[in-house]
């Protein structure tokens, strides 16, 4: 009989039961600040004082979470601060637990959630968050690449912010949070113009305010099932309002909305386009062509497909270049690089999904992210 053994957190990655898996570019990693006061050093007055006085506590969700750790992995809670706020824990559970060569930081602090009130405050928050991200995350690990956060409800201010930080060498994209706004509206064109002139991509990510076509549903599970509708709605809006045509250098990635619905959406958009193109003559190509060439979808949540099912979906999409792997760390629906996609995929497809498609999309060198060279040998 052997004695008891102290048991730290253990899973397949940390227990060494399997190899660390394929090289990964993780396109959706949620860093967080320890508290809203962390933004204070980066805020101008009058906003700084209001935050320090506790006059605004930050965003919260209009529902209760049911998962073991709330909205996050239960094992991702640091000793202090919320999940995603502890760099060392993130390294242990993600960057070093798997073969992560680069991680695209996407935050979870989206000023679009302020709505139409106090747009100056929302824009100030976005700018402060970007400065915080650059100072405290992008500089901390060469594997990190960043997202420019904006308050899209003030497109001119958003464009100025993109010009302010968009040239940072680790910034890759402008992040647009999905609520109930359709970003194809020409009102938002200044944002796309700024992204294009700064060589940035456009990323969409749902917020806790995203809705399905009939609202958020009665239950959290229902609302979580509805999230892809927000992503699909944005793709339809961006294509039909001509954003893909008007900004030919822009590329787009939709995060955390899944991907298995894409064949349907492409077929449906092409069918309608062939009938009703005359209503939107500024759209000059079949929607499916825009999608295959310039839209990418993050795989998370990967929906537990079998190998055959995944190969069928890729075949129906008509391109092996569309899917990019994401973990969504530290959220509760985290996708493990070892277990979320089916085993025994063709080597070339596996390499594309986990690494090559993101490398090409973000314009990173063949041998890996330029800024990650020191940390990902």
């Amino acid at each position: 009989m052997t004695g008891p053994t102290a048991a730290p957190a253990a899973n397949e990655a940390s227990a060494g039961a399997r190899k660390p898996g394929p090289p990964v570019i993780d396109v959706d990693v949620h860093e967080a600040f320890s508290s809203i006061e962390a933004l204070a050093p980066y805020l101008e007055e009058p906003w700084r004082e209001l935050i320090l006085r506790g006059h605004w506590k930050g965003f919260t969700q209009p529902f209760v979470y049911w998962a073991s750790g709330g909205g996050n992995r239960a094992d991702a809670k640091p000793d202090s601060g919320p999940p995603g706020s502890d760099l060392e824990l993130m390294r242990r559970q993600l960057l070093d637990a798997y073969d992560v060569r680069a991680a695209i930081l996407t935050g979870y602090f989206y000023p679009v959630m302020m709505g139409d009130m106090q747009v100056e405050f929302a824009s100030a928050l976005a700018a402060a968050y970007n400065s915080y991200q650059i100072e405290e995350w992008l500089s901390a690990d060469p594997r990190f690449l960043g997202s420019v956060h904006v308050a899209p409800q003030d497109p001119q201010a958003a464009a100025r912010e993109i010009d302010r930080v968009g040239s940072h060498p680790q910034m890759t994209q402008v992040l647009l949070g999905i609520t109930t706004r359709a970003y194809g509206d020409p009102f938002y064109f200044p944002i796309f113009e700024a992204a294009q002139r700064n060589g940035l991509r456009i990323a969409t990510h749902h917020t806790v305010h995203v809705e399905g076509s009939l609202g958020m549903g009665r239950y959290y599970i229902e609302r979580h099932m509805l999230i892809p509708q927000g992503t699909m709605s944005q793709i339809i809006s961006l294509i039909c309002s001509g954003v893909f045509d008007r900004f030919p250098d822009l590329k787009f990635v939709c995060l955390e909305g899944g991907f298995t619905w894409l064949p349907h959406l492409m077929w449906r958009m092409d069918r309608e386009y062939k009938s009703l193109r005359q209503e939107v003559p500024w759209v000059t190509r079949l929607p499916s062509e825009h999608v295959r060439e310039r839209l990418r979808l993050a795989t998370q949540p990967a929906e537990d497909l079998s190998r055959d099912e995944l190969l069928k979906v890729v075949d129906l999409i008509g391109s092996e270049d569309v899917l990019m792997f994401a973990t969504d760390y530290p959220h509760f629906d985290f996708d493990s690089p070892l277990r979320s996609l089916p085993p025994r995929l063709p080597d070339s497809l596996e390499r594309k999904i986990f690494y090559e498609n993101a490398r090409a999309f973000y314009g990173l060198p063949e041998n890996g992210p330029k800024t990650a060279a020191a940390g990902a040998a």
């Binding site: 052997t2 004695g3 253990a10 397949e12 073991s68 985290f334 277990r339």
Partner: protein
């Protein structure tokens, strides 16, 4: 092989504890219902989450009316810290996916210790 998980005093009712056995494999020992000890492999059969970091909780059911909840079998359901997949610690079975099952291990009390047969 037998492994001492801990003493009975170290595992009060409705709590769980993780021990590492051969080659570092985690085993979760749960004390529920009172006086009964169960042990399951501590790696989620879904995506490999560390079950010992999860939640030992109730079986949540309903008589059928939307909005009504009935709680039973306190601390006999182990929920993964990642995706919240639920496992019955008595059988190792996942409540929502019949393809997923955790290995279970015999547990006994011997001389004031909780002993797992691996």
């Amino acid at each position: 092989m037998s492994v001492v998980a801990c003493s009975v005093e170290e595992l009060p009712p409705w709590h769980m504890r993780t021990v590492l056995v051969r080659d570092g494999v985690p085993v979760v020992v749960a004390h529920a219902p009172e006086g009964t000890y169960r042990a399951v492999r501590g790696i989620c059969a879904h995506q490999g989450g560390p079950l010992g970091e999860g939640v030992l909780s109730w079986l949540v059911s309903s008589a059928g009316e939307p909005g009504t909840y009935e709680l039973s079998r306190r601390a006999e359901i182990l929920r993964c810290p990642w995706h919240s997949y639920e496992y019955d610690v008595a059988t190792g079975r996942c409540l929502t996916d019949p393809k997923l099952r955790l290995r279970t291990y015999p547990v006994r009390v011997e001389g004031g210790d909780i002993v797992i047969d691996i």
